[in-house]
Symmetry: C2
Subunit: 289 residues, 2 copies
């Protein structure tokens, strides 16, 4: 089974709870709406890519880790889009969850996806109990306080924010969590995998800044120019468009160089070089060439 199929199967399986007649139907629908049809699935792909590079001896556990990471990503998008944050009407080319289902169900759908991320880890972890605690801890660190994505969003409520710390938490943490949880699921020491996640997270953030500054709504599936509207500082505004694109290439090269020795290192290097090309829409990639 290819990686994309594994991820979609794992997500469908994680959301089985939404298909029983016991569940409140609109909340169940809002949860599925937030997760399907798929986005780029960049984080769960990274998780499975690392697990495979580490031998992937417990594929059900890796699948659960990948699904948990994506559920948490989807939950964060729902809550970030709420009126009290970005007030975003669109996401992935369709109305955001609160625009489609109302604020109350958007809050609950996010909450429920967070819960089911951990439930998904526990379900697969019963068969590999020695890895479960580290896996739950890894995933929780990527999302919670003091430096996960929720903390990152929390920095937006502060007057005095260091830009690098904000981005590390808001975007980088879940990439780090994806890389490390892939290693943990496969029974490997997570420590050497942190840098890969950090560099890819930063690369993705720079690419997002570039797309926001130069992309089109059709390519992005959400309104562009939000960073300027919201007064956020970004790599594009600090380095200029060409400078930001050069920085992106540098970060991807550093990510590839950071892959530790493992059975599938060569394949992983090739995969990351390939995937990173998709960070930017084609027109922008040509600007860089």
């Amino acid at each position: 089974m290819d990686v994309a199929t594994r991820i979609e199967h794992a997500l469908v399986s994680a959301l089985t709870v939404t298909t029983t007649s016991e569940a409140p139907p609109r909340l169940a629908e809002a949860m599925r709406y937030a997760v399907f049809p798929r986005g780029a699935r960049i984080r769960p792909r990274l998780c499975l890519a690392v697990a495979l590079a580490c031998g992937d001896d417990q594929p059900e556990l890796s699948n659960a880790a990948a699904a948990a990471i994506e559920l948490l990503h989807c939950a964060s998008l729902i809550h970030d889009d709420l009126p009290c944050f970005d007030d975003a009407p669109l996401r992935r080319g369709k109305p955001s969850v609160h625009a489609a289902f109302g604020e109350a169900l958007a809050v609950l759908a996010g909450d429920a996806l967070i819960v089911h991320a951990f439930a998904t880890l526990a379900r697969a972890g019963g068969a590999v109990p020695s890895r479960l605690a580290a896996l739950v801890t890894t995933v929780a660190q990527a999302v919670g306080m003091p430096s996960g994505i929720v903390a990152g969003q929390g920095w937006e409520a502060e007057e005095d924010v260091e830009l690098a710390r904000y981005h590390r938490a808001k975007t980088g943490a879940l990439f780090v969590g994806a890389a490390i949880s892939g290693a943990v699921a496969a029974g490997h020491d997570p420590t050497p995998w942190r840098t890969l996640g950090e560099r890819l997270g930063e690369a993705y953030q720079v690419a997002d800044d570039i797309r926001d500054a130069a992309g089109t709504t059709a390519e992005l599936g959400k309104p562009v120019g939000r960073d300027v509207v919201l007064g956020r500082r970004s790599a594009a505004s600090e380095l200029g468009l060409r400078g930001a694109i050069a920085r992106l290439d540098e970060l991807v090269a550093e990510a590839i160089a950071a892959i530790p020795p493992c059975p599938g290192a060569a394949a992983l290097r090739g995969l990351i070089a390939l995937q990173a090309k998709r960070f930017l829409p084609e027109g922008l990639a040509r600007v860089a060439a």
Copy 2:
């Protein structure tokens, strides 16, 4: 160490993440504000009472379960109080979290408390890996879909709701989770403990209806009469005040009768009879006598 102290220590320990300089300070403060000073801590008391009745051979794991249950309860209160749900200005006698910190930080504080509930289980579960998967699953079922507290709140967005199912999810599920997680943390079969949690959850709901119908804001720490304002059906409106109080007594008796054979059964029966008296303010308890 007595049970109340164990619970407060476990909660302080679970929120250590909010005290580092790495954390965004206002979000950290909002999380602590939602958890301290303590409410009645009824659910974590139930969790530890069951763990003790089962021998409590892993007290760190029981403490973690109790803390996780209370963190999830606090998270649900924050989100339930939001303008898109109850729009409640007060909670536990002080401004609700969104009234004090704004909506954005209230959403994030709830999210972070959910995450840290699971992180707390994982931290203690590393030493008892054979119990962790069941513990995470138990807690997740109490909160998520299809029948946890988030699902209960989700039923409020539906036209057609069966009152008993709504209350079972909205209030009962976390009592069931508290009772069962206490048994799981102590290495006992959780199945026979479900009825105790169900009956206590229902008793608490009936007591809440009675307090809402007859209590005073000072006794309750939140606005009374909300059920009528919000058009919710309640036991007090269906059975009348005396009828509801009789039903409460019946449920507590059923809860006590449902305690399965275990080393501390007699002590637990006494404790529950005592605690249940505190479900109602003194004036209302006299109406019942």
